[in-house]
Homo-oligomer: 380 residues x 2
């Protein structure tokens, strides 16, 4: 088992009505003014906004609001919110939404102390400080509620880049699965695929972290089963809760223990899809590229991929497991190919250039430009 360090200081409050604990927690941390960052308004339909206002009001924490974060959040929005933070003099950020909102909050919390928030991504400036972040999660997918990762898109030039800092772990995240009851199933499924992808980025990296691999198989099976249950009944709170917690664990460090830094080639590839076409949901893009990536690599490294077939899909053949995986995603209503995603064949060279900013991608299974070209063709 590879050496590792593990440290996850985020506190989780999980369950229905747990938003009520948010104000008291902020007060205890000495926060008197906070800026809530929200998306495009679903908070007002699922009941979260009302509960947040009440919790902060009860605790005497003054609430400022910044709305309008979109999927694939942009650097421009981050800069706009940083200006609001400076103007209002808030002491904390409350991210109320999904991964895009939480990622934006992280870029803001760190970026407020930098000359330019994009400098953290380019490496020009180092993150040495960040404002405290609290979150209320409204869709389980990215795991951003319990990690130090964030992804932001710079529109000039189109770059969707990821970043990690131990300073932006949320102090406290509220996961109330019942807030997700009103999600369209497609969004639940995209979130589930995102969580599956996080686990898979680590799963194939090493075959000696047997404890982590066993946990990851348990999480993969649970995510698939719970998503199937939610397809039948979107208000199945047992399934909703177990999917939510599995998605959090999928990228909170636990699934990575002893598995190096993971591979992340599929994420690099998908980031190009949704940078070029911001309407592509991250999870759906991953659902197209991941089965193709497994199919492509398993020819070369069958022993590394066979346990996934056996222990997750109960299949003795990788090809059959890939088919089961693809069928499952299609039954969830997700795209099966790049074409389904709305990508045109003449865009493949553009995508390839966007993906190959380095001569190779993939932390474990190195892929050169020609190989990524073949992989894109396979996924097309």
């Amino acid at each position: 088992m590879e050496a590792f360090s593990f440290h996850n200081p985020t506190k989780i409050l999980f369950g229905e009505g747990q938003i009520s604990g948010l104000g008291a927690a902020m007060k205890q941390d000495g926060i008197s003014k906070c800026l809530m960052i929200g998306g495009t308004g679903s908070l007002k339909y699922n009941g979260a906004y009302e509960q947040i206002v009440r919790a902060l009001n009860d605790a005497g924490v003054e609430l400022f609001e910044s709305w309008g974060v979109q999927a694939n959040p942009t650097l421009d929005k981050v800069k706009e919110i940083i200006a609001q933070v400076k103007e209002s003099g808030v002491e904390a950020i409350l991210a109320a939404g999904g991964g895009s909102v939480i990622d934006t909050a992280k870029a803001v919390a760190a970026g407020v102390f930098l000359n330019d928030p994009w400098n953290a991504f380019t490496g020009t400036e180092k993150i040495r400080k960040a404002m405290p972040i609290y979150t209320v999660l409204t869709i389980s997918a990215t795991g951003s509620e319990m990690n130090g990762n964030f992804v932001v898109t710079n529109m000039q030039p189109k770059q969707k880049w990821g970043m990690f800092s131990p300073l932006v772990y949320p102090k406290l995240s509220v996961i109330d699965p019942s807030l997700q009851n009103t999600l369209p199933f497609k969004q639940t499924a995209n979130g589930a695929m995102d969580a599956i992808a996080h686990i898979l980025e680590y799963y194939f990296a090493d075959d000696k972290a047997l404890s982590t691999l066993a946990i990851n198989e348990a999480l993969l099976r649970t995510i698939v089963e719970m998503t199937d249950r939610l397809k039948r009944d979107s208000k199945d709170l047992v399934a909703r809760g177990n999917l939510a917690w599995s998605a959090t664990l999928a990228l909170n460090g636990l699934s990575a223990v002893g598995l190096k830094s993971g591979d992340w080639a599929c994420h690099s590839i998908e980031h190009a899809f949704s940078a070029l076409h911001p309407e592509i949901a991250h999870g759906e893009g991953l659902g197209v590229i991941f089965p193709a990536w497994i199919e492509y690599l398993s020819e070369k490294y069958p022993t590394r991929f066979l346990p996934w077939a056996k222990n997750v899909w109960k299949e003795d053949s990788i090809a059959l497991a890939v088919r089961r995986f693809r069928d499952k995603l299609q039954r969830w209503g997700l795209a099966a190919s790049l074409r389904d995603l709305g990508i045109k064949q003449n865009e493949l060279p553009i995508l390839l250039d966007m993906i190959m900013v380095q001569p190779e991608i993939g932390g474990v299974f190195k892929l050169k430009k020609e190989e990524v070209r073949s992989l894109l063709m396979l996924a097309f």
Copy 2:
């Protein structure tokens, strides 16, 4: 899924040679003087002591030493070390050893701020403050390296009581599995059984936390497989590492998510065994009572116990799974009955009185005195 809160702030450094990071971490936390608490000297054989001295020396952290903590650590020892802490003026505790040493360190770290450290256990005083704790783990068993639990025995009267405080989570724990290569197999097996017991205390508590149950099954299977491998080869570092990490996860909060507060009847019962006979290893005592407890309760609640038989032991019958569990423990060289543990029949009434300080034990499956008597007879 039951509501829960989760917060585990302990940082883990895992792998061979990781003790070297200890001094720098302490220095970064502003520690200039620390008291190392040790057991009966194995640190000097497994190489840990030498590495600790070097790491602290390199970082300029002054090291004081307190040796002689025994299995089933006592309140008297805690008081003795508190006096040393006060005299030396150290700012932190470094627990170098197994669960007994770490538990002692926690009782010291909190007890130093109380009128009497036992007051925390009786509830007379509340823990409001604790010294920072660092640990170097030398045997994987109790999970104390990544939780806020500690158990201490008061010899007058004989009471082995457990305690929890969020203030005594270690700041940093070093888990170097190679330090455990020199352990006699019996101790490895006792530790494995202790970790199994921690998972089982939660596992049967609820059937809706499907994500946690799947993780717990993964951990149970991994612990059994890795212990089997270590029986064949005590220097199998892959098995050693995966057993160590599984034992940490068995009681760091993860295995408890959505499973109420667990049951803990078997722990209450075992604490009486080893309070009466301090030579009984906690893990071995648990290995006697747990199969009996499952056998006893599964007659009344078969549906609650069947998933354990199926998913951990691949048996369709609980009785067969209990037999497999008992056989496994016996093959590991652990006692199969109270009699094997050296307990005499005329001691059963004494044990029963020690166990039944309340009219019932068991957080999930309530057991009255008569039922515990039957259970003890079954285990005898």
